[in-house]
């Protein structure tokens, strides 16, 4: 049984984010810390848990992006993936989801994975598109926001609960092969084991040049990125930390919250 986990490298959300000169994406600077998308960590951990509870399961972790994303693929090996795949494409700018999904689909199609896991969304562009597009390109059934899963021992059906808005969980069963987008909180991702860290250090990644994949053009055009307008109603408290604390308490007192 083979599981593919799609992982994305994203800038840490606490990094200082600046817009590039062209105004079309963020500036690559040494101030930006890149790491694995947190939602994908849950997807990877869920695959590792399936492998631990069943025999003969292989996990491939795949990422599409420039050279720097290899670090995230290696991190996936450290966290327990068996094989790491880097689909290399140029550029740090905005990538159309349909191209990323097509790149993964082209790679994955001949390998006939039994399960494909993605995180529910990427923390950087927050589009929630690649997973459902990938499922459709491969003709697979899929389910969103999976918060628990149970694989039948026969391995032809997986039962899932999907977390919806308003405290509702939809209960579905899907025949394999299928794609699940994994919700955060389904598990607690583990820290890498030392043995996996040592293995990952030596292990070669499978590298595919995206130029060889005949990808479709994106169907949308990026007009630009902007900083949000400053809040019109809000006041940012100024002064030393002590002064800010005092100002805030006086405001709360005046509004009779204390």
């Amino acid at each position: 049984m083979r599981i593919l986990v799609c992982v994305k490298q994203v800038p840490d959300t606490e990094s200082v984010i600046e817009i590039d000169a062209a105004g079309l994406w963020i500036q690559e600077t040494e101030k930006i810390v890149y790491r694995m998308n947190r939602f994908d960590e849950y997807a990877l951990e869920e695959a590792v848990r399936i492998r631990e509870s069943a025999s003969g399961v292989t996990i491939d972790a795949l990422s599409v992006g420039p050279e720097r994303v290899r670090a995230t693929v290696t991190k996936a090996l450290e966290k327990g993936a068996d094989n790491g795949i880097h689909i290399a494409c140029d550029g740090n700018g905005y990538q159309s989801p349909v191209r990323i999904a097509a790149a993964i689909a082209t790679y994955a199609r001949p390998l006939a994975y039994d399960l494909i896991f993605t995180g529910i969304m990427a923390e950087d562009d927050m589009q929630c598109q690649v997973g459902p597009m990938l499922a459709e390109l491969l003709g697979l059934p899929s389910a969103p926001s999976v918060i628990s899963e149970t694989l039948e021992p026969t391995r032809d059906i997986i039962h899932v609960e999907c977390e919806m808005e308003g405290g509702i969980r939809e209960q579905l069963s899907l025949s394999l092969p299928c794609l699940l987008s994994i919700q955060s909180g389904i598990n607690r991702p583990r820290y890498p084991a030392l043995s996996n860290v040592l293995r990952a250090k030596k292990q070669e990644l499978i590298t595919v040049d995206a130029k060889t994949l005949a990808l479709p053009e994106g169907r949308e055009v990026m007009r630009g990125v902007f900083y949000p307008e400053k809040p019109s109603r809000g006041i940012i408290l100024e002064g030393t930390s002590e002064e800010k604390a005092e100002k805030l308490l006086r405001i709360l007192y005046e509004k009779s919250f204390l």
Binding site: T13, D125, L174, V225, F226, K230, E242, L248, L252
Partner: protein, 326 residues
């Protein structure tokens, strides 16, 4: 040009935000003669359809026993079929878990552009949609290129017209399609409602919420200390804090947690993703404390404090003791 809206129906109940799709479509069309139709899939949705039609748009009901619960396989097939027949220029879903799972797949099936989590329409020579990036630290504008676009609309961004304020209109036509379809690869069994204790968020006058910036489960004591000085207050949390197991999900504020509107909401170390903001934006007063001056939470705060919560909250408690005594 015409616009096809996809209503979200859960267990034969209309998700009220579906009405925001109508508000969005009326903003989107340049020409008032542009037809707007809403597709309503479900098991028994005639009453829902008639209520929607009274707002002056045509309604296409798709009924099947397997559409009572969320079956993405059947929904996709039926929505793509409707797109083929109606040939709309825009297909619009809510940016909900269901909607943003179906929309990209419909875009692939119908060769359309796909733009998700739309917050605003850019007026100007070229149509563009505005959406957030990086937890709201940045915005992007993106234009569709294909002749047809599938978009998802961020709930709350296009408020529905108040029914009482709108003029009476000629009701739209309601057509019903009873489909004969079997579940093949996806089987929808039903749903479970999580009605666990909500950490008293509903009754609270004041909610003080912890985000990832609190740093550790131990540091939640800092939140509790501040909560002590605020009468009728309860403790909330952003989703990551619950995912990390620092607080139970009963405390979670946001689209997959509780929607709250206390008199005062204090966001501590919360970045302010649209999912969190959707759950607390109607609070009367909002205070945000975050060390990251770019954090999106400041954009909706009445009072912002750019400080690390792990050092500022103890300072707040000790200053309170100094100013107001124990």
């Amino acid at each position: 040009m015409n616009i096809l809206l996809i209503a979200e129906v859960v267990d034969n109940m209309l998700e009220p935000a579906s009405n925001e799709l109508i508000a969005f479509a009326r903003r989107l069309r340049e020409d008032p003669t542009t037809e707007i139709a809403m597709l309503v899939p479900g098991q028994d949705v005639r009453d829902i359809g008639e209520a929607i039609a009274r707002q002056g748009i045509d309604v296409l009901l798709i009924e099947n026993e397997h559409l009572r619960y969320f079956n993405p396989e059947i929904l996709l097939q039926e929505i793509a079929g409707a797109v083929d027949r109606i040939k709309p220029q825009f297909v619009c879903f809510l940016h909900s878990t269901r909607g943003c799972h179906l929309a990209p797949a419909v875009a692939v099936l119908t060769g359309s552009s796909c733009i998700t989590a739309v917050e605003a329409i850019r007026e100007g020579e070229a149509l563009a949609f505005r959406r957030s990036l990086f937890s709201g630290k940045l915005l992007m504008e993106v234009s569709p290129q294909a002749p047809r676009s599938v978009v998802t609309i961020l709930p709350g961004a296009f408020p529905a017209a108040d029914e009482a304020d709108s003029l009476p209109v000629e009701p739209g036509a309601v057509s019903v399609r009873q489909i004969d379809v079997q579940e093949k690869r996806v089987f929808a069994h039903g749903l479970r409602r999580d009605d666990s204790d909500n950490g008293k968020l509903d009754e609270a006058d004041i909610i003080i919420s912890a985000g990832r910036g609190i740093g550790s489960a131990e540091n939640l004591s800092l939140i509790r200390d501040v909560s002590e000085i605020l009468p009728r207050s309860a403790i909330g949390a952003s989703r990551p804090v619950c995912d990390l197991g620092w607080l139970p999900y009963a405390h979670q504020v946001g689209t997959t947690g509780k929607t709250v509107s206390p008199r005062l909401y204090i966001a501590c170390g919360i970045s302010g993703t649209s999912q969190h903001i959707a759950g607390m934006r109607n609070s009367r007063w909002i205070v945000a404390i975050n060390r990251d001056p770019q954090a999106a939470i400041f954009s909706i705060a009445d009072y912002g404090v750019v400080e690390d919560v792990t050092t500022f909250l103890p300072l707040l408690t000790s200053t309170y003791d100094k100013l107001f005594g124990k």
